[in-house]
């Protein structure tokens, strides 16, 4: 495992946001009262669809936008009226924003020269940063002579060489192809662990966020939807939006009939308990946690369905099922076919779908606004 899961307890807060609000042109609410704490040494991701406010939040941290209300503290210092060039943060911009008329060396040296460090110190520090991001030999090149991945490394070195308290990254891998992305994801994680610099990382790619982050804040329409460890967000989404945005989810409207029983469009189901009878909830179950069988098992929460469509993705078979309450999606691993119990199902086949109670996440949000929700 590349990094052990970190718990935020007993850590020093390095970024503190309190009720931060930002309205553009007097009408577009970009941030609607965001409060958030990022701890020292954390790899913290802001995740959400475009327009959710994640980039605005990052720009507020960088000092490029001024919040209309609320407080921003970085390293314990209030950032009100502190311009970008006096903040203990550096930014890796979305499209690199390298200075086109400067060489790689001069680009990386820029921040150090702005601090008027002696030439020898500049040379040493730049050499260190160049080695850090492994772009030795490119010092004399200009940005237009670099590949996308190389530009990204230069942008990273240019920011890291200043040893910021917090590094702000705005979708830094967004313009790269998948293979390079994966490679740079690992490198970014390695760098972050080595340097122990706090990263605030903006992305709309949920997989990227899950892989890289210590903690993730899922944003939607200028608000924080849920903040937590990657596995918390994935396994115990608090809202239908989070359940849908991170991976795929079957969402089912439910009404509690007992603390551990609900009535749903798919029929009565058992859940883990703690529900208020009569109250409406939303159930979420991940497709890979849905079990399929050809013949009935002696297990709770069986739903009889028919295979409507099969999507073959290589590693898994994705079954789109027609169930009484609507569509259900189940993923089965494309495993060893000699394994006992390994089954493949055909179009139109009748299957027993099991929704194990321990895998049914209860969301205290009665109406499924999301498309594809099985409604009561």
């Amino acid at each position: 495992m590349l990094k052990p899961p970190k718990r935020p307890e007993n850590r020093t807060a390095v970024v503190e946001l309190e009720g931060v609000r930002k309205v553009f042109d007097g009408e577009t609410v970009a941030l609607d009262g965001v409060s958030l704490t990022v701890y020292e040494g954390e790899f913290f991701s802001l995740l959400g669809p475009s327009g959710c406010g994640k980039t605005t939040l990052l720009r507020i941290l960088g000092g490029f936008e001024v919040p209309d209300a609320g407080h921003v503290r970085i390293a314990g210092q209030d950032m009100k009226n502190v311009p970008p060039f006096r903040r203990p943060v550096n930014t890796v911009f979305q499209n690199y924003a390298l200075f086109p008329h400067m060489t790689v060396f001069d680009n990386i040296a820029f921040g150090l020269r702005m601090r008027r460090l002696p030439a020898e110190t500049v040379r040493k520090k730049v050499a260190w940063a160049i080695e850090l991001v492994q772009i030795q030999g490119l010092e004399r090149r200009r940005p237009h002579e670099l590949s996308g991945g190389q530009k990204q490394r230069v942008a990273l070195a240019r920011a890291l060489v200043n040893e910021p308290k917090v590094l702000l990254l705005d979708e830094p891998l967004g313009a790269l192809d998948l293979k390079l992305r994966k490679q740079l994801q690992i490198e970014l994680m390695r760098l972050q662990m080595e340097l122990k610099i706090t990263f605030v990382y903006v992305t709309h790619d949920q997989e990227e966020a899950l892989v890289m982050s210590d903690r993730i804040a899922v944003m939607r329409s200028g608000r924080l939807e849920q903040v937590g460890l990657p596995e918390e967000l994935y396994e115990r989404p608090k809202t239908a939006f989070v359940a849908r945005f991170l991976g795929r989810s079957n969402l089912i409207e439910a009404r509690a009939t007992a603390p551990d029983r609900v009535e749903t469009p798919h029929g009565p189901l058992r859940v883990r308990g703690g529900l208020v009878p009569g109250r409406r909830y939303l159930l979420s179950i991940r497709p890979e946690k849905v079990r399929l069988a050809r013949t009935p098992w002696n297990r709770p929460n069986a739903v009889i369905a028919r295979v409507h469509d099969i999507v073959y993705t290589g590693a898994e078979n994705q079954y789109i099922l027609e169930a009484p309450g609507g569509e259900l999606v189940a993923y089965t691993l494309n495993a060893d076919i000699s394994e006992p119990g390994y089954e493949e199902y055909d179009y139109g086949e009748k299957v027993y779908v099991y929704l194990p109670p321990e895998n049914l996440v209860v969301i205290d949000e009665p109406i499924g606004n999301e498309p594809g929700t099985a409604t009561l």
Binding site: T91, H101, F110
Partner: protein
């Protein structure tokens, strides 16, 4: 379709069709006259201003001050004066035009403001220059205003001052337009990057904004400097014969004096100076700037 798949004949035809008309125009109306002038510069003025042989370098020698009566660098002095004038005009135009172009390009009403910049072109150039006489003359607009405040009238026309003002006025749009285009294309995230890395307002501008407008500056400076160096109408009208620039000298040789041979030689020296200046400028401004310009 792949380009290499086309036949050579077809490619030649395409080349002629695209480059041909323009090239023909330049050959007939620029290269041929220029060569005729080059020949003329080595001939002599005959009776009634006709060009006669034999070939000589006397015109060039005369321009550089070697006259039969001894050394007299009259024309070199005028050339030097003209160069100083052209540099002065260019610097003033740049100082006025650069901020103006910036203000227009970053304004919300940039279309309207840009229209104001090109509006003078709708009026004849000579009329606009005569208008400056009306403004600057003894009983002109400026002095009338001064008189209204009980101030002494100023001697503004004819003067170097008037020539400077009118020349800067005339060529200002030629600097504003290319700089405006460059400013419009500025990638402002570079300024944010510079600020992020510790640059304040001034250093952020110098390192992240100014370099991006350099192609516009290069283009604008050339468009002002070259015509300013050869100007003769403005100096003639607003200098009223007291301001003599190299452009006036050349124009007089082809007009009043009818010494086409000497006029051609002077024109060639001026052209050489411009080309030399261009070459030096390209070295200073960087090839990139000129590359983008051409």
């Amino acid at each position: 379709m792949n380009r290499s798949a086309t036949s050579p004949a077809r490619r030649l035809f395409e080349l002629l069709l695209t480059v041909g008309p323009g090239a023909l125009w330049l050959v007939v109306f620029m290269l041929v006259p220029a060569l005729l002038m080059l020949e003329a510069s080595f001939l002599q003025r005959g009776p009634y201003g006709r060009l006669v042989g034999p070939y000589t370098v006397a015109n060039y020698l005369r321009f550089f001050g070697f006259t039969p009566e001894g050394y007299d660098p009259l024309y070199l002095a005028i050339l030097w004066r003209s160069a100083v004038f052209a540099v002065g005009v260019t610097v003033i135009t740049l100082l006025l035009g650069y901020p103006l172009a910036f203000a227009i390009a970053t304004s919300r009403r940039k279309e309207a403001l840009l229209l104001l910049v090109v509006l003078p072109f709708w009026t004849n150039f000579l009329i606009r220059i005569y208008a400056w006489i009306v403004i600057f003359q003894r009983h002109g607009v400026v002095n009338a205003l001064l008189g209204a405040f009980g101030l002494e009238p100023l001697h503004l026309y004819p003067s170097w001052f008037a020539v400077y003002v009118a020349t800067v006025y005339t060529y200002l749009p030629f600097l504003v337009l290319p700089v405006y285009t460059a400013v419009e294309r500025i990638d402002w995230t570079l300024l944010e990057a510079a600020q992020d890395l510790g640059a304040g307002r001034i250093r952020g501008f110098l390192h992240a904004v100014l370099p991006q407008t350099l192609p516009g500056i290069v283009a604008g400076v050339l468009l002002v400097f070259i015509p300013a160096l050869g100007t003769f109408v403005i100096s003639d009208l607003l200098g009223a014969g007291r301001v003599v620039l190299i452009g006036n000298v050349i124009q007089q040789q082809f007009g009043v004096v009818r010494d086409w041979a000497f006029g051609s030689a002077a024109a060639y020296v001026l052209m050489a100076l411009v080309l030399l200046g261009l070459w030096g400028y390209a070295r200073v401004a960087g090839e990139e700037g000129l590359d983008r310009l051409v």
